[in-house]
Assembly symmetry: C2
Homo-oligomer: 145 residues x 2
Amino acid sequence: MSAAAVGPLSHAIFRVARLHKSIAGRLLRELGLHPGQELVLMALWTDGPQRQVDLVEKTDTDAPSMARSIARLEKAGLVERHPSPTDGRALIVSATQASLALRAKVGDAWTELERLTAGTLSAEQREAALAALALLEEALSRAER
Amino acid sequence: MSAAAVGPLSHAIFRVARLHKSIAGRLLRELGLHPGQELVLMALWTDGPQRQVDLVEKTDTDAPSMARSIARLEKAGLVERHPSPTDGRALIVSATQASLALRAKVGDAWTELERLTAGTLSAEQREAALAALALLEEALSRAER
DNA sequence: AACTATTCCTTGTCCGGCTAACTTTCTTCC
DNA sequence: GGAAGAAAGTTAGCCGGACAAGGAATAGTT
């Protein structure tokens, strides 16, 4: 009753995800970032200052993880937090000027990650992989509810 | 420069993996287990007593995580550790009698996880998903070296 | 206006993943 | 045989992910 025998798809997802995250971590470590932090920065660079809860939604994480992650980014000088003028509960997070120095490098890292992930696949294989993942995501989303 | 725009496949992998792990965690929590621990137990049930390094290899993790995880399983009474009679460095890990009570339930949880993951897919879609994941795994393995 | 419910965020705790540094024990090679 | 190298585990520290619980502010209801 090995895991692979009981759930081949589950096991494959597990292994691919682990490899993928490991490689992402390696690429990001050269920038002094940890997996997940780059998603926060990318959201801020793209969409501008926003509340933590918006970042939570965009980066697929949860509020406590986001709060801690932002606190670390703040300490690193990449991010700032200011109270919202219109909502006393909310904090508006914004990317600092200093963070912009990372912007191109983070883009390169993600481009490289995508190249390592999909680079050896044909266009058809890439399409098939995207379609398969979309199906899985849909099924899993339905299951989560 | 959102993550989805730069690396659609990477982003899809990320999201599917997160959903999948979340659902696995939910199923396992009812058994008092955390994601990863069930892989250790399944390896022990299937292959019998073995060294920690063997478990590391089978469950796709690393030595420090395994050491901690096993210590927790030991404290929970699900696992035992004894020094190897032939290698003074190694510890042989084995599943306890008590752990056998979980065996069927863990199998059910994985079956349910696979059903939630693949249940709504046709046989062809399932095959395609497996093939796509295998390709991705191969590419990522190559990239990791 | 007052009470309730919801939203936003924080803190504490536990978990696995990862790196680095270390100890103990083989193995290998000269 | 002895020294150099490799292998098995451990500990400590960081990270994000998850859950529970709680404070503070807003929104909704009566």
